[in-house]
């Protein structure tokens, strides 16, 4: 006869802590300009010239206060990506984004930093590559709330082809 497993007690507790986060001076300006004017603002270090996104109070590398605001282009270049096969919250809906989908890292023209976001493209290796040009697609102004999710996704610019040297990747998509 199988030995009866000893009962072990567990206590489930939901730790639910409410917060009212202050965006802070720098993030507030960024989010308000995005929401109200559809602009993507970054901040430039007075010492090293690094154009940082999201804007922040201090250049961590130079230990100096950032103060020069720069408007970035809404176009940029994909510097890294992955095809996600696990659900990730879709910031535009708050619901899991149905996998597979492309999650990418784009450097907007004029920025030193990159922006990580969903890429609105068919999730196959043929269709996405490092170096691909993309543009930022915002939610319509009336739907914008002052959040990173006001950016719906990155979208490839039309008329591009995957360069030959990157086509050697084995496409794992079935």
């Amino acid at each position: 006869m199988a030995k009866k497993e000893k009962e072990l007690i567990s206590v489930p507790i939901t730790v639910d802590v409410p917060y009212r986060f202050a965006a802070g001076k720098y993030m507030t300006k960024f989010l308000m300009e995005l929401k109200n004017n559809g602009k993507i603002l970054a901040i430039k270090c007075p010492k090293c010239g690094r154009v940082q996104l999201p804007p922040r109070i201090v250049c961590a590398a130079c230990h100096v206060k950032n103060d020069e605001w720069v408007e970035l282009s809404n176009e940029g270049t994909l510097v890294g990506f992955t095809i996600m096969y696990i659900p990730l919250t879709d910031p535009t809906t708050g619901k899991p984004h149905k996998p597979p989908f492309v999650y990418g890292s784009v450097r907007l023209d004029g920025a030193t930093s990159v922006l990580d976001h969903l890429v609105n493209i068919e999730p196959t290796m043929d269709k996405v590559w490092v170096g691909m040009r993309c543009k930022v697609v915002l939610r319509p102004q009336k739907d914008r709330i002052g959040d990173l999710s006001d950016i719906r996704y990155l979208e490839p610019l039309p008329g591009q082809k995957k360069p030959r040297e990157q086509r050697s990747y084995k496409d794992k998509e079935q």
């Binding site: 072990l8 567990s10 507790i13 730790v15 917060y19 986060f21 965006a23 993030m27 989010l31 940082q52 996104l53 999201p54 922040r56 961590a60 590398a61 510097v79 890294g80 990506f81 992955t82 095809i83 996600m84 096969y85 696990i86 659900p87 990730l88 919250t89 910031p91 708050g94 999650y103 890292s105 930093s113 990580d116 976001h117 290796m125 490092v130 959040d147 990173l148 999710s149 990157q166 990747y169 084995k170 794992k172």
Partner: protein
């Protein structure tokens, strides 16, 4: 440091996905009792107890205060240190500072994680800034995925190379009685495991483990009087990284990278010219396979772009010339708060020759450990058998 500091004892629990038989305090106590036994010491002899944990992971605010019975801290001085995945190593640094200060002779360092109790998914999404990326919860896997794809694009490595790391870790774990994922897997198995985020598959990632580690640090006199095989802490170095710019994933970035900066500083302290020769074994913190390959390069074990050749040639195998993670590493056992301390303790075991089934088959005089956490943070600890 003003006084030499030695590891005079340590212990760990066995690691598993389920530990319903113990609460957090009791689980941690298992490691502490083993450490005390190992050092042949009683709790009364301990001068201070340092606890490492990140409060959100198990949803407990003052864990150190809760643990006082099991940790032996009742009536003793002590601190709680909380610095991300690096915390176990940071706590060893804190312990070494305590001893080196001359105010404490014997310090107990404690690290644990009972991942099954917390809500790891929710808590990891909390690592992101509340208004920048928190709504994209789950992107950590995506980060390591981009690192892998960038690395392959830059240097021509193949998915097979990450699979080799996955296999090495789990095969080494089979030799380590305390490890969690003791899997008899092949490269094929790794490549056929479930895709999470291309090119990261299930077996490319670390598991969620429960476990604890404890170490006793002491001054030179105590170490020499009380311990047959003290292991000396020769240097420690910490390099955190800024909040938003996570360039580690970009294989060809020109910006200074935390891991390389940290390594070059600790090598400078020790006068290391050729780390692959200087150190006999490495215990590194690799939450994903690709990070191990990148660590090889950042630690200077090979030239940039050649990390995948090391694993391909078996150089970092347990019996290779540059053994890395003979314990099975974080890929086999990840109790986050304890993982970084486990690296230090496993390296100490190698130096003592007490690692048992996963002892590397050569003389071990020096070892280097790394910790990883936060937004690309590193803590490195160099250990040695003698004080020369």
């Amino acid at each position: 440091m003003k006084r030499n500091v030695a590891i005079i004892g340590g212990g760990q629990t066995y690691h598993a996905a389920r530990r319903h038989d113990v609460n957090q305090v009791e689980m941690t106590n298992e490691a502490i009792r083993r450490a005390l036994d190992d050092a042949q010491m009683t709790i009364d002899e301990i001068d201070a107890v340092l606890v490492s944990n990140m409060e959100f992971f198990e949803g407990t605010h003052m864990t150190d205060c809760w643990m006082v019975d099991g940790s032996g801290a009742y009536g003793k001085p002590g601190l709680k240190i909380t610095t991300g995945g690096t915390v176990g190593a940071t706590t060893v640094c804190a312990g070494a500072h305590h001893v080196a200060s001359g105010l404490f002779d014997k310090v107990l360092c404690v690290a644990f994680e009972k991942q099954e109790e917390g809500d790891t998914g929710a808590i990891l999404s909390g690592v992101a800034h509340p208004l920048w990326g928190r709504s994209m919860a789950g992107a950590a896997v995506g980060y390591f995925a981009m690192m892998g794809s960038s690395y392959m694009a830059a240097w021509g490595a193949k998915e097979e190379h990450s699979a080799m790391v996955a296999v090495k870790a789990r095969q080494n774990a089979r030799k380590n009685k305390y490890a969690h994922l003791k899997l008899d897997i092949t490269i094929e198995d790794a490549l056929n495991s479930r895709m999470l985020s291309w090119p990261i598959r299930m077996l490319d990632m670390c598991p969620a483990s429960n476990g604890a580690c404890a170490m006793i640090l002491a001054d030179e006199k105590t170490a020499k009087d009380r311990c047959k095989k003290p292991v000396w802490i020769r240097a420690m170095e910490t390099a955190h990284n800024e909040q938003f710019e996570l360039d580690w994933r970009d294989a060809k970035t020109k910006r200074p990278i935390f891991s390389k900066v940290c390594a070059s500083r600790i090598y400078k302290k020790l006068g290391v010219k050729n780390p692959a020769k200087y150190f006999d074994v490495f215990e590194i913190y690799e939450p994903a396979t690709w990070t191990e390959i990148v660590w090889y390069e950042d630690l200077g074990l090979c030239k940039p772009g050649e990390g995948f050749r090391l694993i391909e040639k078996g150089m970092t195998n347990i019996d290779g010339p540059i053994p890395v993670n003979p314990s099975g590493g974080v890929l086999s056992t990840n109790c986050i708060g304890a993982s970084a301390m486990l690296r230090v303790w496993e390296a100490a075991l190698q130096i003592r020759g007490d690692a048992g089934g996963h002892q590397v088959p050569k003389d071990v005089n020096r070892a280097l450990t790394t910790a990883y956490g936060g937004t690309n943070w590193a803590v490195m600890t160099a250990l040695s058998k003698t004080l020369d």
